[in-house]
């Protein structure tokens, strides 16, 4: 590699490392775009390759250009800046203007550093430690999630170290190239084995279970939330990609929307539905509810808002806008939101994209046993609504209706019927499976095929069947889509966090009880109601649902599994949560630290290895010469001038420096062996060991 190429690669890698700073830092500010900072930080880095006046020119014009494109004007920026400055001087936190300029200054600082110190181990190590440290810090203490990034940062760090090494000590030897190739291979192998990273690297196609099938693909679809549910069935693959992270709430199912019309193959939305139960609340006003506040952090912008109980009353976006969904009134200047008949909350921007961080407030209903067991004629729903919620396709085979009647023969109230249906699936004949699931073909009914034919399926099969069975018995029911509670991430800043991944996409049902409202039901076997339905016990009238919840979660721990993760089925209760079995960010940092420590102490490591190696070998003339050569190499590395010195001259100098005698003694043996052709004296090894320890200490 030529010097210039090395320098360019070095600078590019340093710039790449610096780019990892942008997401966490900007993510914790009110900026909702990151691109200006990529320009502000990275352009000067590359400009550092130019002479100083080039650097200054590029930095200056880059700043103005970025400012112009971002802000639209250069002149009023100055005013903003002064305003901000006076604010900062009077003790306020810096606003955008100062932050923007500060980032630009940081970019210049790093550019000067990288240009001035090239090539420097100090700079590179500082860069690596601060980048990884920053990522780890922000990952732990803020909403930033560095899991997918840390590996890239580490790889870049290794390559940067490698290039520094090349630039520092040019060598024709291939050893370094081979070792970096080996290292990269090992890391890539590790990375592809690690499930998290596999998931993060995959292209996150957010399809529903059946979407892939609809598109006529032969392969299985990928798990995740999708919009189209017209054709259910078929196998799917797991996807560990993160959808969002929740904070501040106990384990809780996340509702997105409900669908009403069962077609015999899948579900579609009903166009006319606008009762209170559909819009503002899910439950009757008599039901106790507890307000809850959740912070959701999305990995990327999604087109839905998941919520934990009833529809959110208010939500805060990262731009600080507040809006109310509960009564449809839209009181927000920037973002508009509307609620679809299905109960889905949608942001009315171009991509219907939800801001990446939202704060939700909603109420969590808590039913009493009495409320659940009410059995009164439905009056709250309009006839039209009732029709929709009791709709069944004409093609539904009669044996399904017969089965419904059979299952619920002993049940009187809607709740009892629901529980009978739930119990029916748990009778042992049904199996949870994501791989061998059939797609109903021709006239075959999706529910009929599952109930009587395959008895093998996942949440869609169970929930759809449960809905159909309940409807057949006259219980208004709807099919609900969303996510399960996700993987516990741990307690962060005193609040529990859960990671909700694509594979946590789920479906369940809600059935209507007059006087109570919509009551959720988990139909799928191996899943529990615990995080979906909250029931007030009569003795505990003041029960706080939030406080209750962890208990409920614990009780059901064995069955409280992530949805589609079959591999987890064998995990015994009390075993480590899944998250901790993966290599988290800190794990990677630890590995890098260890490797760094070894590299830092490579002299000691090499010394130990060499001493061990040579001490084990018998002393012959050739091994003695090799040992002497190694000693010369170490002496050269220690700063002694070796070339042009005879062994005894060198010995004198070395002994004088280390205040030792062994080098002279060792050299005498060496001379007798090499120049007088005598057999080597075994004392040589002893002296050699002493000298190597001295030189390499």
């Amino acid at each position: 590699m030529t010097e210039w190429l090395k320098r360019i690669v070095y600078t590019a890698l340093a710039a790449y490392l610096l780019s990892f700073w942008i997401d966490p830092i900007v993510g914790s500010t009110t900026f909702d775009v990151t691109w200006p900072f990529y320009f502000l930080l990275l352009v000067p880095m590359f400009a550092s390759l130019l002479p100083w006046y080039g650097l200054i020119g590029v930095v200056f014009f880059n700043f103005l250009a970025v400012l112009y494109v971002y802000h639209g004007s250069l002149f009023d920026w100055f005013g903003l800046w002064l305003e901000d400055l006076s604010g900062v001087l009077s003790g306020a936190l810096p606003e955008e203007a100062i932050f923007f300029s500060a980032m630009a200054l940081i970019g210049v600082l790093f550019a000067i550093l990288v240009g001035r110190t090239y090539p420097s181990y100090g700079f590179v190590l500082g860069m690596i430690v601060s980048t990884l440290g920053l990522m780890a810090y922000f990952d732990t203490w803020t909403l930033y999630d560095g899991e997918g990034q840390i590996l890239l940062a580490i790889l870049a760090s290794l390559f940067l170290l490698f290039v520094t090494d090349l630039a520092k000590r040019p060598s024709k030897s291939l050893v370094r190239y081979v070792s970096i190739a080996l290292l990269a291979t090992v890391i890539l192998a590790l990375a592809s084995v690690s499930p998290t990273l596999d998931g993060d690297w995959s292209d996150r196609i957010t399809t529903s279970f059946q979407n892939a099938v609809n598109e006529g693909e032969t392969g299985p679809g990928r798990v995740g939330y999708g919009v189209n549910d017209e054709q259910l069935g078929g196998p799917f693959e797991q996807d560990d990609g993160i959808v969002f992270i929740t904070r501040g709430v106990p384990a809780r199912y996340w509702r997105i929307e409900a669908k009403e019309i069962y077609t015999g193959k899948g579900w579609v939305e009903s166009p006319v539905l606008d009762s209170n139960f559909n819009r503002g609340q899910l439950v009757d006003p008599d039901v106790d509810t507890t307000p809850e506040q959740a912070l959701l952090r999305f990995d990327r912008r999604e087109s839905f808002v998941p919520y934990g109980g009833e529809y959110p009353q208010a939500a805060e976006t990262e731009s600080g806008t507040e809006f109310r969904v509960g009564d449809i009134e839209q009181q927000f200047p920037n973002e508009t939101v509307h609620i679809r008949p299905s109960g889905k909350i949608v942001f009315d921007n171009d991509n219907q994209a939800t801001p990446q961080t939202i704060q939700l407030r909603y109420s969590v209903p808590s039913f009493t046993e009495d409320q659940l067991n009410l059995n009164e004629p439905v009056t709250t729903l309009t006839d039209e609504e009732q029709q929709a919620y009791l709709q069944l396709p004409d093609t539904l085979p009669d044996r399904v209706r017969d089965l419904a009647a059979e299952i619920t023969a002993d049940s009187e109230t809607p709740s009892e019927q629901a529980q009978a249906v739930q119990a029916y699936f748990r009778n042992g004949e049904f199996e949870y499976n994501t791989e061998d699931v059939a797609i109903p073909e021709g006239d075959t009914d999706y529910v009929d095929q599952f109930l009587f034919d395959t008895q093998l399926g996942y949440c869609d099969n169970f929930s759809t069947s449960a809905a159909v069975l309940l409807r057949a018995n006259g219980v208004p029911t709807r099919w609900v889509k969303g996510f399960t509670m996700g993987d516990a991430r741990g307690v962060i800043q005193g609040e529990t966090e859960y990671t909700v991944r694509n594979r946590h996409a789920h479906s369940w049902i809600e059935y209507f009880v007059e006087g109570a409202g919509w009551i959720p039901l988990e139909a799928t076997i191996s899943f529990s109601d615990a995080n979906l339905l909250q029931i007030e016990t009569e003795t505990d009238t003041d029960s706080d649902p939030v406080a209750n919840d962890p208990q409920a979660g614990n009780e059901n721990e064995p069955t409280n599994r992530p949805q589609e993760d079959i591999a987890i089925d064998d995990v015994a209760p009390g075993e480590l949560p899944e998250e901790s079995r993966r290599l988290p960010v800190w794990g990677w940092v630890l590995i890098v630290f260890t490797v760094g420590l070894l590299v830092w102490n490579r002299k000691a490591v090499e010394r130990a290895v060499m001493v061990e190696w040579w001490m084990r070998r018998p002393l012959s003339e050739s091994s003695l010469v090799a040992m002497q050569r190694y000693l010369m190499k170490r002496l050269r590395a220690a700063g002694f001038k070796v070339d042009g010195r005879t062994p005894s001259e060198l010995a004198k100098e070395v002994d004088a420096y280390y205040e030792s005698e062994e080098m002279t003694r060792l050299t005498r043996i060496f001379e007798q062996t090499v120049y007088a052709d005598q057999t080597p004296n075994s004392k040589y090894k002893e002296y050699w060991k002493i000298m190597i320890r001295r030189i390499m200490s």
Binding site: R629, M632, G644, T646, E649, E671, Y675, D677
Partner: protein, 317 residues
């Protein structure tokens, strides 16, 4: 540095007369034991002649002295056949070369013709007088002195003849303390008169044979050859060391190792003698001379850069 006991006694004996100059003495002894000759170069009066006289006295060798002058003829060296009127025969009168140690003083003052006669004798160890070959006594050791060539009235020695001297040694002035003790030593007595020989001629011959048995390892041979090659390849030289120089360096190194009590040659020996062996054999280009370079500087430069061979494996280069 430590010496072989016999050598130590010689050096001690010589040092009773010559103050300091241990290195010069050791090198002269090296040349003697290696069977070579020495060219002593320095300004007049630093003790060149005294050194040679002391040398011959300490070793019990027959000492002859020739003072070279511009009008000297070859026969003045080799001796000449004269007509004896009594016996009516030509009778050979040996010249000053018929000795064990010959001091050829101010060799560069005489004409090249006479110089070559001396040099022929040094190489062949015989002289031819009137068509008759006369073998010179053994050991035959010439110590020639010359004043630095830029002095007036000197004939520089031709390259081919310089090559015949094993070593060229520079005397140098004594240090302050050495010169002080020199005064004390010569204040009342003449130390040379009191000097007794410490070693016999036969012992010297035996030592010369021993020197030839000193082991030279392949690594050291490589070192020597590499150094000579360096002298030929350097752009500052127009004449590098000849194969005779290679041989000379090895022989001198053997003797140097011998007098230091070793029976094998170290790279150190080669290094110690390289300047003396090659200094008068390497000729610099006019450019290099103009830049003020000397042969000694160049040789030191080569030695400083060349890695010292550490094993038998032969590496070209």
């Amino acid at each position: 540095m430590s010496y072989r006991p016999a050598v130590q006694s010689i050096i001690q004996a010589i040092e009773t007369v010559i103050v300091g100059k241990e290195d010069v003495i050791a090198k002269s002894l090296t040349a003697l034991l290696a069977g070579g000759h020495v060219l002593l170069e320095d300004v007049p009066g630093v003790g060149k002649t005294m050194l040679v006289r002391t040398f011959s006295r300490a070793i019990d060798l027959e000492f002859k002295r020739v003072q070279f002058t511009p009008d000297m003829l070859p026969s003045d060296l080799t001796g000449i056949s004269m007509y004896n009127q009594k016996t009516k025969e030509f009778e050979y009168r040996p010249g000053p070369l018929m000795g064990n140690i010959v001091l050829a003083d101010e060799i560069n003052r005489t004409s090249p013709k006479t110089q070559s006669a001396l040099l022929e004798a040094m190489a062949e160890r015989s002289v031819t007088v009137d068509g008759e070959v006369k073998i010179l006594p053994s050991p035959f050791f010439v110590m020639a002195t010359q004043n630095p060539i830029e002095h007036e009235g000197t004939y520089p020695l031709p390259e081919a003849q310089l090559d015949r001297f094993l070593l060229k040694i520079e005397m140098g002035y004594p240090s302050f303390n050495e010169e002080l003790s020199l005064l004390t030593r010569f204040e009342k007595t003449e130390p040379l008169d009191a000097l007794q020989s410490v070693i016999s001629k036969h012992e010297v011959e035996q030592m010369q044979r021993d020197v030839r048995n000193v082991h030279v390892s392949s690594a050291v041979k490589q070192y020597i050859v590499r150094l000579i090659h360096e002298s030929r390849n350097d752009s500052n030289t127009y004449l590098g060391g000849s194969p005779r120089a290679t041989l000379a360096l090895m022989k001198a190194s053997q003797a140097w190792a011998y007098i230091h009590g070793r029976d094998f040659v170290l790279p150190d020996d080669v290094k110690a003698l390289a300047s003396s062996v090659l200094g008068h054999r390497v000729l610099l280009t006019a450019e290099a001379r103009y830049k003020g370079r000397t042969a000694e500087q160049l040789i030191k430069g080569w030695l400083d850069e060349m890695p010292v061979p550490m094993d038998r494996e032969v590496k070209e280069g």
